[in-house]
Structure formats: structure tokens, C-alpha cells
């Protein structure tokens, strides 16, 4: 982390109070978003998202596995986050474990729903191949290559784009197998099923600096925060998850206000993200 002088801290706080941030943005304005799909050819789906100087690569790999006994009609999804030391020298060795776990758990909460699997953004029953015997295991990996604040939002966006790029191979099951034997499955190399990501939410993090909140904070602005609330909103304006970070206490009315601001900003962000995904897919088709 680069140290900030008193003058710089004052400048950042003053700018936010006057609705002009250090890079000229307004409080509720996102940085330039750039999206690329298919960056990892050997994965089933992948994406590279750049939000200002923050760069995330997300990949989705599907492997055949056995469904859990509690949910024999559902596939499994697991999300992992890795912070590369190229982003921050403090991430070397085991330094990034705490942050990676925090980010992975926050993403799981927003995208995968509760313990029973209810409310998951991805329809887990579409991942089942043979009830109780064979299902698809999705491994979603997020890699933070360059970090300049707002990692959670960028990770959620990258995962949404990677899922929209994912193709699950079609599986032909031989029906002649006996009941207690492992059924034979033939994974097709040709046909793929695309995922429906219209219900995958995005995450908007509102960072409170002084008396105002900003969206998409850079790491310098994050160092001045008193608290932050990350709200996960889907296309229909429904809230899919909520996390509050930071030690300062927040008045409940402030939290409600932040949630409504996040809902408003999220619709715009989802629009931008969807158009970027469409543009990337059009480019890939050429």
C-alpha cells in the first residue's frame, strides 16, 4: 500500500464531499469497464475484466462428479479466489489467504444462496446428468492480476461474464446400465449447452468516506473509508446478498439509503455489463 500524506488524505476526503473525486469522477460513477471473453482456451468459459487499473481473470471449468447425498438432483458449484502477488507485493506466499477467503465467501453467499442451495443464481438442477449418480461440478476460479480497489465488484462481474461464455458439453447417457452400477456417460466434443446468466447478480460496493458514499473506490479511496456495504442485486432489482465491512458503526437509516442507492446504480451497471458481453460475443463469433 502506498502511504498517503495528510495533504493527500484531506484532498481525497474533500473531493468526495464536493462530488469531484481525484480522477474526476462523480461519487456514483464507475470507471471504464473493458471485457474480453475466451481468454483461457482450455477452460469451459473464461473472461478478463478490467475496471480502471483493477484486472481480474475468471475461469469456469466443468468436471463430471457425484452429486451430494442431500441433493441428488442438483449439480455442485464452488468458487475460489486467488490474489496473485503481481497485484500487491504483500500477497506473496500466504499473505493473500485472508483476503482470498473473504472474497470467495462473499461471492459464494451472493451467487450460491444458502446452505440448502435455495436461491442460487445458477440453476443447479440444470447441471444434473443422472439423478443421484452423475452431475457436473463447476469450479469457478477468480484470479486478481492487478488490484486498484473494488475487487469484489470486479470479481462478480468477471464471474458473470465467464458464466455467459461457458459451454457445458452435452452428455449422452447409456440407459442399459444396472441400477447400482456407475452409468456410462459419453461426453460430446461437439455440442455445448450455453448457460442462462440472466439471473446472475452483480455486486455493488458502496464505500462511506466522511458523510458521503462512493461507488467503485480506488485503493487510495478505500484506505480512507470508515465502512463499506456490498450489495448484490440482480436484474429484477432484488437483493441477493449483503455484506458490511469496516469497523465504524452505521445508522440503520443510512444502510437503507445505501441499499436503495446500490439498487439504482446496479441497473445501470448491469446494462453496461450486458452490452459489453454482447459486444464480446459478437467479436468472438466473427
Amino acid at each position: 500500500m502506498v502511504g498517503l500524506s495528510e495533504g493527500e488524505k484531506h484532498f481525497i476526503r474533500g473531493g468526495i464531499a464536493q462530488d469531484i473525486r481525484t480522477d474526476g469522477r462523480k461519487r456514483l460513477q464507475f470507471r471504464a469497464l473493458s471485457v474480453e471473453t475466451g481468454v483461457i482456451p482450455q477452460a469451459n468459459g473464461s473472461a478478463r475484466v478490467r475496471l480502471g487499473a483493477t484486472e481480474i481473470i475468471a475461469s469456469v471449468k466443468a468436471e463430471l462428479g457425484k452429486p451430494s447425498i442431500l441433493h441428488p438432483d442438483k449439480g455442485k458449484v464452488s468458487i475460489f479466489v486467488d490474489c496473485s502477488p503481481t497485484a500487491e507485493p504483500t500477497f506473496e506466499g500466504r499473505g493473500s489467504e485472508e483476503l482470498s477467503t473473504e472474497l470467495a465467501v462473499a461471492l459464494q453467499r451472493c451467487l450460491l444462496g444458502g446452505k440448502s442451495g435455495a436461491g442460487a443464481a445458477i440453476d443447479l438442477s440444470s447441471l444434473i446428468v443422472v439423478d443421484g449418480k452423475v452431475c457436473w461440478d463447476l469450479y469457478i476460479d477468480g484470479l486478481v492480476v492487478s488490484s486498484d480497489g473494488n475487487l469484489l465488484d470486479a470479481l462478480a462481474a468477471a464471474i458473470k461474464v465467464a458464466l455467459s461464455d461457458t459451454g457445458i458439453p452435452k452428455v449422452n447417457v447409456s440407459l442399459s446400465a444396472a441400477n447400482d452400477e456407475e452409468p456410462e456417460v459419453d461426453v460430446s466434443d461437439e455440442e455445448f449447452l450455453q448457460f442462462d446468466t440472466s439471473s446472475v447478480p452483480v455486486i455493488i460496493t458502496l464505500t462511506k468516506v466522511g458523510r458521503h458514499y462512493i461507488v467503485d473506490a480506488t485503493s487510495e479511496e478505500e484506505s480512507q473509508m470508515s465502512s463499506a456495504v456490498s450489495v448484490s442485486v440482480n436484474r429484477h432489482g432484488q437483493i441477493c446478498g449483503l455484506t458490511k465491512r469496516g469497523g465504524a458503526g452505521l445508522d440503520p437509516s443510512v444502510i437503507f439509503d445505501m441499499i436503495s442507492v446500490a439498487k439504482h446504480v446496479s441497473q445501470q451497471f448491469i446494462g453496461v455489463l450486458d452490452s459489453e458481453i454482447a459486444a464480446a460475443e459478437a467479436e468472438a463469433d466473427e
Binding site: I40, Q42, P85, T86, D141
Partner: protein
């Protein structure tokens, strides 16, 4: 398996035996690092970031206070190989490669110009298709140059093997796992000195000389490319400064 087609002389991916994979390099990919580079050799993609020279974080690691401390970490992304790796950091191969890269770069960095400071080189493998060691060293050279760290010379690295009685330059993953010998060479390009030499499996002496000679030629070709990239980058910076 036919690694070299006896009729046409082509390898599994359509290259000739002394042909290297396509190279692509980009400087300055990680905005917050002092120097960074992306290096691609065919399907192997690697990002290197350099932080330094900066204050020593852990005084206990400092051995010689008249020289800079060079540290290196090599990491592979979980999605970098065909099967998903479960433990991409801290395993023995990563530790060994981190050590190898550090020793190779130390031979070139003018450490005594920066006493009591540390230089961190972080290498992240995004896609692995054979020759990751060499790609990492080439990326680290570019990143160090981008960070403005004084070096004796450009360090480049390339691998070569021997399959179907033919020396092959720049092995990819399929050729590497064929079980034939794999010679990795790292040289200081202009000074013509070898800083890294590793080989596994066995080779008769005269064949070894020809394989190593091929690898050194590969290194020199990469050095020419790296010089072009750095020149291009400097011109672009000069234009930006006006």
C-alpha cells in the same frame, strides 16, 4: 507416437524442428507495479511484475548489506493447466522454479548499486503449455527493464529437446511429456554467457552439444525480439512525454 513426421519433417503442431513458437510480449500490463510484462510463447502465457528497489521488509533475510536482496515467487493459476491444479503455490516444483529464476536474474542485476534494498520479482503463469520456466525468465527480464533496474545484460531462456533422432527447439507440453531429454538454457545475450543450464533424461555427449547449441540460438533470437519490444516501448514513452 510420431513427434516428427518422417515424410514432411513437421512436428505435432506443424512446426519445423528448429522453429520456435510464436512470441508475443507486452510491457506495462500491471499498473501498480514498478515494472511488469506479459510474455507469450505459443500457448504459454506468463505475467511478471517487479516491485523495487524498495526498503527491506524483513531484515532477517538480508545476507549482505552491501547488495540488494532479490526475491522471486513463481505461481501457477489454478486454470493454467489442462486439469485443474488444487495446490498451485508452495509445492516443490514452484519452489524450485522460484529459486531457479531468482538465481538466473541475480546474475544480471547490478546488485551493488542498490545496497540495503530489496527487489521482488513475481511471476504468474496464466496458461502453461511447456517451457514455462523460459517464458518466466523472459517476462522477468522485460519487467526488470520496465522498472528501470540496472542490469548487466538481457537474460533470455529457451528449451530444446531430442525426439525421433532430431533436436527440437522450444518444446510444448505434448513434446515435453514424451519422456525425451529436455535442455533448458538461459544466457546473457550480448555477453554470451550461460547463467542457467538444466537437463533431464540422458543424452550422448555430442548430441547434447548440438541440442544445447540449438537452445542457445533460440535464446539469441528471443533476445533480438525483446530488444525490439523494449525499443518500441521507449519510443512510445518518448512520444507520450512530448
Amino acid at each position: 507416437m510420431e513427434y516428427v513426421n518422417p515424410l514432411t519433417g513437421f512436428r505435432v503442431d506443424g512446426r519445423r524442428p528448429n522453429e520456435m513458437r510464436q512470441l508475443k510480449a507486452e510491457v506495462g500490463v500491471v499498473a501498480r507495479a514498478d515494472g511488469s510484462a506479459l510474455f507469450e510463447m505459443g500457448n504459454t502465457r506468463v505475467i511478471a511484475a517487479v516491485y523495487g528497489p524498495r526498503e527491506i521488509q524483513n531484515k532477517g533475510q538480508q545476507v549482505n548489506n552491501k547488495e540488494a536482496l532479490v526475491r522471486c515467487e513463481y505461481r501457477m493459476a489454478e486454470f493454467s493447466t489442462g486439469d485443474r491444479r488444487r495446490k498451485p503455490k508452495g509445492d516443490r516444483r514452484s519452489t524450485e522454479i522460484s529459486l531457479v529464476i531468482r538465481q538466473t536474474m541475480e546474475a544480471s542485476i547490478l546488485k551493488d548499486l542498490m545496497p540495503c534494498s530489496q527487489i521482488d520479482i513475481f511471476v504468474q503463469v496464466l496458461q502453461a503449455d511447456g517451457g514455462t520456466r523460459s517464458a518466466c525468465i523472459n517476462a522477468a527480464t522485460l519487467a526488470l527493464a520496465d522498472a528501470g533496474i540496472p542490469m548487466r545484460d538481457i537474460v533470455t531462456s529457451c528449451s530444446a529437446g531430442y525426439l525421433c533422432s532430431t533436436p527440437l527447439l522450444d518444446l510444448n507440453y505434448v513434446e515435453d511429456s514424451a519422456g525425451g531429454p529436455d535442455v533448458t538454457v538461459g544466457i546473457l545475450a550480448k555477453m554470451d554467457k550461460v547463467t542457467l543450464l538444466q537437463m533431464d533424461a540422458k543424452l550422448p555427449m555430442d548430441t547434447f552439444e548440438s541440442v544445447m547449441g540449438l537452445a542457445i540460438e533460440g535464446c539469441k533470437a528471443i533476445a533480438t525480439y525483446i530488444r525490439e519490444v523494449l525499443l518500441e516501448n521507449t519510443k512510445r514513452l518518448e512520444c507520450q512525454r512530448g
